[in-house]
């Protein structure tokens, strides 16, 4: 193991190879040289250098091709082209291809040292960036596991004890309060599950289990699942299905989840006694589903963020516990079905989400 920088110089002029080697001698580096492109590439494969100097004009394979091959081997290797005055244009060309810099001949030892130092710094930064990116990915994956265990475990323990309490003799008032605690913790656990879904679950995987789904069935399942919430707020859900509608290809559980999230939001942001209207129709070989509420609406400033990464709306009306994760998850599910979701809204009047998903070609 050594931490010395590995430098390769590829040039057909022996005097360049010798002088460069001499300039770098004694520094914290190891230097290899090659007198043509073929030998140079072989050396790059063996040594896995940090930086490679390549003469553009060499007999045999050209410097440009050497650059291409190096970047195919390992794009993080920093390349610098050495060029005569007449080939500045091709040096520019080389940089467009990914070379880091160019060194015009003739050059002074200081110029060479400077460019070497900068090249090595560049290489270090590139490696660090890659390492950081990998770390970020790992954190993201591990985060899911950490969240699940570290947050869920204590909540699970609390919940389990509340469950146990419920079976013991209690006054009505105690029972009611325990029931509230239980339901709040249930919400927290659900929220953690949503987080996990956003962070760790690869939604594209649902594509592996696509089946043919009937649209009216899908809608009624989604409505069924939000009914307890709408009943509590005295909100009427009206569904208008413009039959016949062709079936769609998809994963039913996920699609119901996607609809439930949108419907749930519509209910959450509606005024008591309001209406939520679902319409479904087939248009240009697409299922077009719209979910419209007459609730608080979304301001113009907030609207662009609703379908970005997850976002939590902060409208005038303080809604019940809300988390913007739902819409994000729905969006991902719909996109996994080759569909699209859009939103329109007017503050104080309401919000409409429109989902478009391609239908199965043959009409039944």
């Amino acid at each position: 193991m050594n931490n010395k920088a590995k430098i390769i110089i590829i040039d057909d002029e022996e005097v360049i190879l010798d002088s460069c080697t001499m300039i770098l001698a004694g520094g914290p580096n190891d230097v290899w040289t090659a007198s043509n492109g073929m030998k140079g590439i072989k050396l790059v494969e063996e040594v896995q250098p940090d930086i490679v100097f390549v003469d553009l004009k060499m007999p045999g394979i050209s410097g440009m091709e050497v650059l291409d091959q190096i970047s195919a081997l390992d794009p993080t290797i920093v390349t610098v082209v050495i060029t005569g005055f007449a080939t500045v244009d091709s040096a520019v060309e080389a940089m467009k291809k990914g070379a880091y810099d160019f060194l015009p001949k003739p050059f002074t030892p200081d110029e060479f040292r400077l460019i070497t130092r900068r090249g090595l710094e560049r290489r270090k930064l590139m490696l660090e960036t890659i390492a950081l990116r990998r770390e970020k990915e790992m954190l993201r994956e591990n985060f899911a596991a950490i969240v699940s265990h570290e947050l869920k475990s204590p909540l699970g323990a609390i919940q389990q004890n509340l469950y146990a309490f419920m079976g013991e003799p209690l006054t009505e008032n105690q029972k009611a309060r325990l029931e509230r605690m239980k339901s709040r913790i249930e919400d927290l656990i659900k929220l953690i599950h949503s987080w996990l879904r956003v962070l760790s679950v690869d939604i594209e995987k649902i594509k592996e289990n696509f089946t043919t789904i009937s649209v009216p069935g899908l809608i009624s399942k989604a409505i069924e699942s939000v009914e307890p919430h709408s009943d509590r707020k005295d909100i009427t859900i009206i569904s208008k299905i413009d039959e016949p509608i062709s079936s769609i290809e998809g994963d039913e559980v996920s699609l119901v989840e996607a609809l439930v999230n949108i419907l749930g939001n519509a209910i959450k942001y509606s005024y008591t006694g309001g209406q939520v209207i679902i319409t479904a129709q087939e248009k240009e070989r697409h299922l077009e589903l719209s979910i419209a509420d007459t609730g608080v609406g979304i301001s113009k400033e907030e609207l662009p963020f609703i379908l970005g990464d997850f976002y939590r709306g902060k409208s005038g009306l303080m809604a019940e516990e809300s988390h913007g994760l739902g819409v994000t998850i729905s969006q991902r599910i719909i996109e996994a079905h080759n569909g699209r979701i859009s939103v329109e809204s007017e503050p104080g009047k309401g919000t409409t989400f429109v989902i478009r998903i391609p239908v199965v070609q043959t009409k039944e």
């Binding site: 699940s148 869920k152 475990s153 389990q160 004890n161 469950y163 079976g167």
Partner: protein
């Protein structure tokens, strides 16, 4: 019930155990607890139990799996019904690709997620006990 059934819980979270144990106590089971896999295995080998409630994520990882593996190799313990109680289903799916919900550690087992509703818990416990008994009587 003719005879009080003996249950063992292996779980490293004493607070969770407290919650689950009081439900089982109230249902007139005799419940013992081991707070780590080592004590758990020792209890299994030295005493007789009718059913094991086993946590998966203990200590540094899925140490519950180790307990299940050892049980599977032991001709006597192999027949004991196990209720697997785990914090997270997704991790189970990860540990047992292709067997997302029901890993089949031993002959008779079931899986529930933490926290588990009392009704579901008692249902699973009694159905596992029954299944194990039927298996035993058929073997005779």
């Amino acid at each position: 019930m003719t005879q009080q059934k003996k249950l063992l819980i292996i779980d490293d979270d004493p607070d969770f155990v407290e919650g689950i144990k009081s439900i089982l106590d109230a249902a007139d089971y005799s419940v013992e607890v081991a707070y780590n896999p080592k004590d758990g295995l020792q209890a299994l080998q030295t005493k007789n139990f009718d059913l094991l409630l086993l946590d998966i994520m203990m200590g540094r990882g899925a140490e519950g799996i180790m307990v299940a593996r050892k049980m599977r190799k032991d001709p006597k313990l192999r027949e004991m019904p196990v209720l697997i109680i785990t914090g997270i289903r997704e991790q189970m799916a990860f540990l047992f690709p292709g067997e997302p919900v029901h890993p089949r550690f031993v002959q008779v087992d079931e899986l529930v997620e933490k926290p588990v509703e009392p009704k579901l818990l008692l249902e699973k416990v009694s159905s596992l006990l029954q299944a194990a008994e039927e298996l035993k009587s058929r073997a005779k």
